[in-house]
């Protein structure tokens, strides 16, 4: 039977408790100190509905309250326990390194929003269009400069400028648990002094944004050439 994966934890397989999707009990599949937390898949593969996403988040947060974890990408389904063990074995060093990186830390998010969304009048020429784009980019860059003081408060950070036209800034910070309040205070101060938009702080989240290296070390053996 297929397995739904939730997280990789630094724990004893027997210490994994809780309930996953479809009221299936959580279980740990271990390999040399690493545990992949799974539950048996019910009749259907988990679909990304609102309720399912909230439920997934709830399961991950319960795991995070007990163990250092790397949350799995939503929708990960493995064929069986052997596949789970192979995944742990093949990426053991990388996963160990990531777990050490997030141990004792949480993710805090900063989302920027425009006070006044950039106007999009129809451009009469290519030059006018490009100038308009540059102006939007410049305004979004101001958000990135504004949040610079947050970086020293975090172990690591990932800042995306203008990831979507309606979103000038999207940032994730890996912050020590005991520094989250300080982080929030500084974020609130930055927001209060900013007129061109608003900064919204969310979290603490499980370390979704820091669970995966920027560049995957992918195993291309067996890939078609």
């Amino acid at each position: 039977m297929s397995l739904v994966a939730y997280a990789i934890a630094d724990a004893d397989p027997d210490a994994i408790e809780g309930v996953g999707f479809d009221e299936q009990p959580l279980a740990g599949i271990g390999h040399d100190g690493l545990v992949l937390v799974v539950s048996r898949q019910g009749s259907r593969r988990p679909e990304p509905t609102v309720q399912t996403l909230w439920r997934y988040e709830e399961i991950i947060e319960q795991l995070m309250s007990r163990h250092p974890i790397l949350p799995a990408r939503f929708g990960t389904v493995l064929a069986d326990e052997d596949e789970a063990r192979v995944a742990l074995r093949d990426r053991y060093e990388e996963l160990r390194h990531r777990l050490e990186m997030v141990r004792g830390a949480v993710e805090l998010g900063i989302r920027g929003s425009w006070a006044h969304a950039p106007a999009r009048p129809p451009a009469r020429s290519g030059t006018e269009y490009m100038l308009g784009q540059l102006d939007v980019r410049h305004r979004a860059q101001c958000f990135a400069e504004l949040v610079d003081p947050l970086r020293p408060l975090a172990r690591s950070s990932k800042v995306k400028v203008l990831p979507r036209p309606a979103v000038p800034l999207l940032a994730a910070y890996l912050v020590d648990r005991d520094r989250t309040e300080k982080f929030r205070e500084v974020a609130a101060e930055l927001d209060a002094g900013f007129e061109d938009g608003q900064l919204v702080c969310t979290g603490p989240w499980p370390p979704y944004s820091f669970a995966q290296p920027e560049t995957l070390d992918l195993d291309l053996q067996g890939a078609p050439t």
């Binding site: 994966a5 990304p48 996403l53 988040e57 790397l70 990408r73 493995l78 608003q198 969310t202 992918l218």
Partner: protein, 80 residues
């Protein structure tokens, strides 16, 4: 605990709800902020345990998989 704030709130970094609460009870604008954050993280973050397997098929499959998840989620959110 996951907390978030409404876009129009005066104290923008004060927690106003928890993820464990029933989202249907939350103010609509608060849910929007958090749902976007959840979508970004759950569908775009986390360990890709089977990454090497997916890529072994072809790069484009990985892209299509992510896209299908996202499209499905937007459809669900829009109640289509």
């Amino acid at each position: 605990m996951v907390s978030g704030v409404a876009p129009g709130a005066s104290e923008s970094t004060s927690p106003v709800f928890e993820a464990s609460e029933n989202p249907s009870r939350l103010p609509h604008h608060s849910r929007q902020v958090t749902l976007v954050d959840i979508l970004d993280r759950l569908l775009g973050g986390g360990v890709v345990i089977q990454g090497h397997i997916t890529l072994a098929v072809a790069d484009i499959d990985l892209v299509e998989l992510d896209l299908s998840l996202l499209v499905a989620s937007i459809d669900k959110l829009a109640g289509r």
